[in-house]
């Protein structure tokens, strides 16, 4: 039900569990006859993929959905879209239960899960035109406009079987744009795309985010991209949410990092001076190329005191620049250095 409680939430997952057994096959059963008995009597061991997955996404936000290989990202998205059944828990899109009201929940949802699929025997244009049978507001002009927006207008009469992976991704995004959804779920939207295509896709996601009430949940292994477009991130590991929050807040630290470059002959004097200051947490000598510089860990809001103290001590500053913590660094911290990527 679309309750008042859920009115401000675009996507909700509550205590979702999902496990997979080995796929059933007669060949396998012949090899392992006891498996049949185990399957029949319900004592068959399954691999848990999602364990108590819970998170909420506010309407109108752009959320990055991150996790290492095999963390359960694609499975989570499939469960949310009711493409696969979950063992337990509840998922809601725009307040509608995706299991019992999935026709309502999918009414305003555009989703790309894993690689985009199309009817290969049709042209790109026809693959979009076919959706006009269901979504009445779609016109031929709107299709042309959408194809122009993703840069596929010149290829619209080619069969989809002749499209590259990147072109398919763009065509799928064109299809989603046509549907005018309120929630967009994108699983690895830039996979198989060249850098230009990735930048274009990033721009499209950014422009979608600017179109009012649209919520975008995007799973990607390109953390830089997520950092560029997302307001929030959800990081999952081994089927559990390990972090959820606003990107700016997550990257915020108790101290600030700065790089300081001074005259090479003054670098040790500068290091000793700053080490004695109460607002300095740590000083480290480092090299950038052949240029020595100091890496400073400074207490919050105390950075302005560094130039003052150095000038007072007659030390010339060549460069003093704040170093922001990247999403990648944060991701590696919370996932213990696990690699990102699509689940196998």
């Amino acid at each position: 039900m679309n309750s008042d409680k859920n009115r401000n939430m675009a996507i909700e997952a509550e205590n979702v569990y999902k496990s997979f057994g080995e796929p059933f096959s007669f060949k396998r059963i012949l090899k392992l006859p006891w498996e049949l008995a185990l399957r029949l009597f319900g004592n068959y061991k399954k691999k848990s993929v999602l364990k108590d997955l819970s998170f909420k996404v506010e309407r109108g936000s752009v959320v990055g959905f991150l996790g290492p290989n095999g963390a359960g990202k694609s499975t989570s998205l499939k469960v949310m879209l009711n493409l696969i059944r979950k063992d337990a828990g509840e998922c809601h899109i725009l307040g509608f239960n995706t299991e019992y009201d999935y026709d309502k929940s999918l009414k305003s949802t555009g989703a790309l899960v894993e690689l985009p699929v199309f009817y290969e025997f049709m042209t790109g244009f026809d693959n979009l035109l076919i959706t006009a049978n269901v979504f009445k507001h779609i016109t031929r002009e709107a299709i042309d406009l959408s194809l122009r927006r993703v840069g596929l207008f010149d290829h619209k009469d080619k069969k989809v079987s002749q499209y590259s992976t990147g072109m398919r991704q763009k065509l799928y995004v064109a299809k989603i744009l046509l549907m005018k959804p309120k929630v967009i779920i994108l699983d690895e939207p830039t996979s198989g795309m060249d850098p230009k295509g990735q930048a274009e896709m990033r721009d499209i996601i950014k422009s979608l985010a600017g179109e009012g009430d649209i919520t975008v949940l995007v799973s990607s292994h390109l953390l830089y991209e997520i950092e560029q477009v997302a307001d929030y991130v959800v990081i999952i590991k081994d089927g559990v949410v390990v972090t959820y929050g606003r990107v700016a807040d997550l990257l915020e630290t108790e101290h600030e990092l700065y790089d300081l470059e001074v005259a090479p002959e003054k670098i040790s004097e500068c290091g000793s001076l700053l080490s004695g200051m109460d607002y300095i947490i740590g000083v480290e000598n480092t090299l950038r190329g052949n240029v020595p510089y100091l890496s400073l860990k400074i207490k919050k809001d105390a950075a302005a005191r560094v130039p003052k103290d150095l000038v007072a001590s007659n030390i010339d500053i060549y460069n003093f620049m704040r170093q922001k913590r990247s999403l990648e660094e944060y991701f590696l911290e919370v996932t213990d250095g696990a690699a990102t990527g699509q689940a196998k």
Partner: protein
């Protein structure tokens, strides 16, 4: 659901196999109808196979109506054979290449998607039947004008409607079985192969039950009961023996449509469709 049926029809219109199947369903029975009618009526085959015009009329009835009845039956089987390809394309192949995801991500219930596929396949059958009957009429006129066979007037149109209706119901049961098979099969070709196999297997089961009854392995009453309500038997909603009698007398108003068989046939259709739907509903999109 109407929107989804239109969606499916759009897809079928872009599929080359659909045109091939439509051509095959209509062309082959019509060619046989045309050639046989002309050859037999002109007695051209008399010298070849020893069948006279009189013998043909005794066997198939006088006029084109007899031929239409026979050929409608042939058409029904041709439709069944080629519609397995369509069902395979709409279900098996979509699961195989994952394009089913396009429909599963639309705001429709699984039942609506399943029914839309069924309805569009039935529309394909109805469309073919319409073409077939229209072409038959054209051939009837051609026979009259070219060969002087004034047989077209013998067609009893209300009876023809009754026949088409009966074959339509039988076709629903064929398609429901094929749909059930196509949910398991991985390609349209496998669907066709398994559908043919299933038909022969069901026929074999019928024969085995009859044989067991005759050999007293199972009670003859049970054998008769099972045989009467066997799937393939229920598809014979027009009693063949009585049909031949009717053809001899040329009184088609007494065409023996077996309504109890029609009932059994509808029950089989429902059983296949419900089983197929339950599996379709639980079939997960494989990652």
């Amino acid at each position: 659901m109407f929107d989804l049926v239109r969606y499916e029809v759009f897809k079928m219109r872009r599929l080359k196999k659909v045109y091939f199947c439509a051509f095959a369903i209509n062309f082959f029975p019509l060619m046989i109808l045309f050639v046989l009618t002309v050859l037999f009526f002109k007695g051209m085959l008399y010298g070849w196979v020893g069948i006279s015009q009189q013998m043909f009329q005794d066997e198939f009835g006088q006029g084109i109506m007899g031929s239409i009845v026979v050929m409608l039956s042939f058409f029904s089987w041709a439709s069944w054979f080629f519609q397995t390809i369509i069902a395979g394309e709409l279900i098996s192949k979509e699961f195989e290449n994952k394009s089913i995801k396009l429909m599963l991500l639309m705001p429709f219930r699984r039942l609506t998607i399943y029914m839309a596929k069924l309805v569009s396949t039935m529309l394909f059958f109805a469309f073919n039947m319409l073409i077939y009957l229209s072409l038959t009429a054209v051939i009837g006129v051609a026979l009259d004008r070219i060969f002087g066979l004034n047989v077209f007037q013998l067609i009893d149109y209300p009876l023809l409607g009754k026949l088409c209706n009966a074959y339509f119901v039988v076709n629903v049961s064929y398609i429901s079985l094929v749909f059930l098979i196509s949910i398991f099969a991985k390609s349209s070709e496998t669907t066709m192969a398994f559908s043919i196999f299933a038909t022969f297997a069901l026929k074999a089961i019928d024969s085995v039950i009859m044989l067991f009854g005759k050999l007293n392995i199972i009670p003859i009453e049970l054998s008769n009961f099972l045989n009467k309500y066997a799937y393939l038997k229920s598809c014979e909603i027009i009693n063949t023996e009585k049909l031949l009698e009717v053809m001899k007398t040329n009184d088609y108003t007494k065409l023996p449509i077996s309504f109890d068989m029609l009932g059994v046939n509808i029950l089989y259709s429902l059983l296949f469709l419900m089983t197929g739907y339950l599996i379709f509903k639980r079939k997960e999109e494989k990652g």
